[in-house]
């Protein structure tokens, strides 16, 4: 049984990229630990918010990649490209709707499990979603275009890249939202 084969090397390489992103996001979180004490329920929000941002950006990149391979769109942004615009609108709506759901859940869990009434927590993921959406969506689209133009398959590269980028941007956005609240 050969353990250290091509699969092993590929898995460990992608994990290294993901870990670096995770550690940078963790450092951002660590810089705001004092604020974490002030807002109850922040630790409920963090895993859900990162998961939500990763899912939205990941599926956006996958859909753009499919459209590029099928030659439905060109790897160049134009306001007239309805397909890209529809994806942007959908991504924005999904982010806001999921953030609202997450905020309500964090509020409910805070209230029913910990007995803390803190409705402002609903606003934290919504503000963070607006901030991160403004950066992540264009970044995802243009990175997918760039990788495709360079002759690579975005499906193979964008996974770890998105996870890394999204974690850092989303965590920063979440912390900014926390400070605003």
């Amino acid at each position: 049984m050969k353990i250290f084969d091509k699969n092993f090397k590929e898995m460990i390489s992608s994990q290294i990229i993901v870990i670096i992103g995770g550690l940078i996001a963790g450092t951002v979180l660590a810089a705001f630990t004092k604020k974490l004490y002030l807002i109850p329920g922040m630790l409920i929000l963090i895993p859900g918010f990162l998961e939500m941002r990763g899912s939205i950006a990941g599926t956006l990149s996958a859909r753009i990649s499919s459209a590029l391979f099928l030659k439905v769109i060109k790897p160049k942004y134009s306001r007239k490209t309805l397909l890209v615009n529809s994806n942007i609108h959908a991504s924005m709506f999904l982010a806001l709707a999921a953030s609202l759901g997450l905020g309500i859940m964090a509020f409910a869990l805070n209230y029913f499990v910990s007995g803390i009434f803190f409705p402002q927590i609903i606003l934290v993921p919504i503000i963070a979603a607006v901030l991160s959406e403004a950066i992540e969506t264009p970044l995802t689209i243009f990175s997918t275009f760039y990788i495709f133009k360079k002759g690579h398959d975005p499906n193979n590269i964008m996974g770890p890249v998105i996870t890394t980028g999204v974690d850092i941007i989303s965590m920063t956005a979440l912390m900014v939202a926390m400070v605003v609240i």
């Binding site: 895993p47 939205i56 709707a97």
Partner: protein, 239 residues
């Protein structure tokens, strides 16, 4: 009788518009007709049916994704609840806070790796009835366990170095506990992912369904949730 090119093109356009309007089923008869008559690949036709009416595309994406994204988000939030219960222990230990996002990703990543590779093995009939005797499966389990523990160890060490740089280093006992928590969490998590994937994968495959469609959402959701719960339990145990 062979149609004239213009007439054929018009007819195809008419079919394509009709195709975009019908409800989405994987093998609609019209799709086969278009494939045979105009030699357009089935995958392209399926894409056209799903995506070319651009004015409805955003609605379709939202309709198709919202419930899954909401479900995944809420499951992760439930995992976060476990962390919230130990926040008074967790927040003062900076390396554990730094580890959180990295571990959050790692769980989902291993869920995807195990599920997709197991699905390939099932399709290629590499997993026998006595699955524990399958060489490929054993290799996957060893590889994933090794990588998870190695990366957990490296992540924990780096998470200990970062606060040290800014003059907030932890003592040796706490450092040892952080490393042990990270490695144990990775091992327990990967074991759980493997058990769930193998049992669910074989069951789904025997039901003649594609394990790819079921395993990834199941394992990533459970892994995300379990990761936070296991981490919270280990924090309680060690601190």
């Amino acid at each position: 009788m062979k149609l004239e090119p213009i007439k054929a093109a018009r007819q195809m356009e008419k079919y394509l518009v009709k195709l975009t309007k019908i409800e989405r089923h994987k093998h609609h008869p019209l799709l086969h007709t278009l494939h045979k008559k105009h030699n357009i690949s089935r995958k392209t036709l399926l894409y056209i049916k799903g995506h070319t009416r651009e004015e409805h595309m955003a609605h379709k994406i939202i309709h198709g994704s919202l419930r899954f994204i909401l479900l995944a988000t809420l499951i992760s939030a439930l995992g976060g609840l476990a962390l919230e219960q130990v926040r008074h222990i967790l927040i003062p230990i900076l390396p554990l806070i730094i580890l959180l996002p990295a571990f959050n990703n790692m769980a989902g990543d291993f869920g995807i790796i195990v599920s997709s590779r197991l699905s390939v093995m099932l399709h290629e009939k590499q997993v026998k009835k006595r699955f524990w005797e399958s060489e490929e499966l054993k290799k996957l389990a060893v590889q994933v366990a090794m990588i998870s523990m190695l990366t957990a160890f490296a992540t924990a060490v780096l998470a200990l170095i970062i606060p040290g740089i800014v003059g907030d280093a932890v003592n040796l006992v706490t450092a040892g506990k952080v490393v042990l928590i990270a490695v144990l969490d990775a091992f327990l998590l990967v074991s759980l992912i493997l058990i769930i994937s193998v049992i669910a994968g074989i069951y789904v495959f025997r039901k003649k369904k594609d394990p790819n469609n079921f395993l990834i959402p199941i394992t990533t959701s459970i892994a995300d949730w379990a990761n936070m719960v296991v981490l919270a339990l280990l924090v309680i145990m060690f601190f």
